[in-house]
């Protein structure tokens, strides 16, 4: 073992010496390495600085807070004494983003599979282009569309869902409306659809030809081939894409702020008007906020950051658990 690694080291050293002699751009290499390391450190430093700044701003507000920051459903940081908690915001954020993900992911996967494996090749590229284009639509447009076009139609849909699925608490309640968390999550689902779909499509297209042919040669139909070769291979990519979509949905500000009507307090009936999210709340109240109010909003933003981080880490864990098989 030790002689082996000794040999390895010797070979490695000789190899290094060779490449060094052969390399014509030693200074170029060094400049590049320095630049790469420098920008890496810079990014970390900027992030640390932002975090420190935000925490610095948030602490005084948190100290003045007379309510429990985590469990309180009120958001009155401008009152005296200030009372605010993130419970309602966290609920609205997680619910709207989660629901939008549940709606968007299957559709996005279906679109990606259709483009990658079903549509005629001539149509496929055009279709992919259109889907990508959807990602470039500004969120204010989605917000306007959600408010003016979608919301008026949501009345009927909400009532229908309330009738059929009312036994599930989230779809229960007496007065299904159109400016609900549910409506917001439909808008969010459409907003995150393109990103999930286009990343999934890229992943599906990278499935090695050998895997596809292995499935086909076993006598798999196209759908069976997709189940045997494409989906297992693309799984971690799709999870990653969904997490990107979820991050976007949780951070989405203006579209959600436009669609939701604010009603204080957590309402688990998602079809009823009301609800708020971290990002929408910040957008709506930052302008008129007192210094304490700003601190409170910044603190809520930090919580959103932590939630996003946790979700991302959970997704990574899911992907890593399958690593052995990839």
């Amino acid at each position: 073992m030790s002689t082996q690694s000794g040999v390895d080291a010797a070979v490695g050293a000789r190899h290094r010496a060779d490449t060094r002699r052969l390399s014509t751009g030693r200074t170029g290499d060094r400049i590049f390495a320095g630049a790469a390391r420098g920008s890496g450190i810079l990014v970390l430093a900027i992030m640390a600085a932002i975090a420190v700044f935000l925490i610095w701003k948030a602490i005084p507000a948190l100290q003045d807070n007379k309510a429990n920051f985590i469990t309180s459903q009120d958001w009155n940081p401008n009152a005296t004494p200030p009372k605010f908690g993130i419970a309602q915001l966290a609920f609205g954020t997680v619910m709207s983003a989660g629901l939008s993900l549940v709606m968007a992911t299957p559709v996005a996967i279906a679109i990606a599979l259709f483009i990658a494996y079903y549509s005629p090749r001539k149509i496929a590229s055009g279709l992919g282009y259109v889907v990508d284009l959807l990602a470039a639509v500004p969120s204010i447009v989605y917000g306007l569309w959600g408010l003016r076009v979608l919301a008026p139609h949501m009345d009927g849909i909400s009532r229908f869902l309330n009738d059929v699925l009312g036994w599930i608490p989230f779809f229960g309640g007496d007065s299904p409306g159109k400016n609900s968390i549910f409506t917001a999550s439909v808008v969010l689902a459409i907003m995150i659809l393109p990103i999930i779909s286009s990343i999934s499509r890229e992943v599906f297209l990278q499935v090695p030809r050998a895997n596809v042919e292995a499935a086909l040669a076993l006598g798999a139909t196209r759908w069976e081939m997709i189940r045997l070769a494409v989906l297992p291979y693309g799984q971690s990519g799709v999870i990653g894409a969904s997490m990107l979509g979820l991050g976007r949905a949780m951070g989405e500000t203006i579209a959600v702020a436009m669609v939701l009507t604010f009603v204080p307090g957590i309402n688990i009936h998602l079809l009823e008007d009301g609800g708020s999210t971290f990002a929408a709340n910040i957008a709506k109240s930052f302008g008129e906020a007192s210094p304490t109010g700003r601190g409170a909003l910044i603190a809520s933003g930090l919580v959103l950051f932590v939630i996003t981080l946790v979700v991302n880490m959970a997704a990574r864990a899911v992907v890593a658990r399958r690593k052995e098989f990839v």
Partner: protein, 258 residues
């Protein structure tokens, strides 16, 4: 179980490229037929026309007739998926499903065929792995990923996967080209064993291998780059390697090719 293959007047194309021209031959059941010939002469292309895998390449098409006993594989009513369930294939590079365990790799084709009962799956998986001479090496780690095996083991896993569905015919495209001599011998032994049950067609660049494993040998050649490949002759292996009819065959097997 094994069936006879009869090919007549077969042409294959990649888009506008004419890859193989006018091939006719008979492959006897329960025998091993080897395809030899220079690179690019269309051996793989021809092999893939025998289980309708050629047409999965965009723009590729086939003309001519392939009969499997009394069934015309290219009849309009025939579903290529059904053909591929009857005619199994092993590829040049081992290609187990990377996300699946050893067990699931072997069971994949069975599940496609609707076998669901655990006990039945267990039995067939064990039999197939034994049939592929792999059982002893993997019986304690059936739940581990197939991609974690050595190249030779992976190839035998692919053979187990192919024979698990009990095909009529087994096509092998250079199954040993990525393997060491020991694994190659293991697979050659396996081929000798499998030919009692299956019709086997194997493409190989290794003359000794063709001489060792096959009963019949077909020599393909190509007149020049851009020209379609052709079948020069097919005969008993002993005849091809000692006293071929065609000068081109003799040149090729004695290494005086080109």
């Amino acid at each position: 179980m094994a069936k006879r293959i009869e090919v007549s007047g077969l042409h294959a194309y990649y888009g506008g490229t004419h890859a193989i021209e006018d091939i006719s031959m008979t492959v006897e059941p329960r025998s091993v037929t080897a395809f030899i010939g220079p690179s690019g002469c269309g051996k793989s292309t021809f092999l893939r026309t025998l289980n309708r895998m050629h047409e999965v390449i965009p723009g590729a098409r086939v003309e001519g007739k392939v009969m499997l006993d009394d069934d015309d594989l290219y009849a309009p009513s025939v579903d290529p998926v059904a053909v591929r369930r009857t005619v199994g294939m092993v590829f040049q590079r081992p290609n187990p499903f990377p996300t699946m365990s050893i067990y699931d790799n072997v069971a994949a084709g069975l599940k496609l065929n609707g076998v669901r009962r655990k006990s039945q799956l267990d039995d067939i998986v064990e039999d197939s792995l034994k049939g592929a001479n792999l059982w002893e090496e993997v019986k304690d780690r059936l739940g581990k990923p197939g991609a974690g095996l050595s190249g030779g083991q992976q190839q035998r896993l692919c053979i187990a996967r192919a024979i698990a569905v009990q095909p009529q015919v087994l096509l092998m495209d250079e199954p040993c080209s990525a393997l060491d001599p020991i694994s190659t011998l293991a697979i050659e032994d396996l081929i000798a064993k499998l030919k009692n049950q299956y019709t086997i067609v194997i493409v190989t660049h290794n003359m000794q291998q063709a001489a060792r494993v096959s009963d019949r040998t077909a020599f393909f050649n190509i007149a020049g780059t851009g020209r379609p490949g052709k079948l020069i002759e097919i005969d008993d292996t002993s005849k091809i390697f000692t006293n071929p009819e065609q000068k081109a065959t003799e040149d090729y097997i004695t290494g005086r090719f080109g």
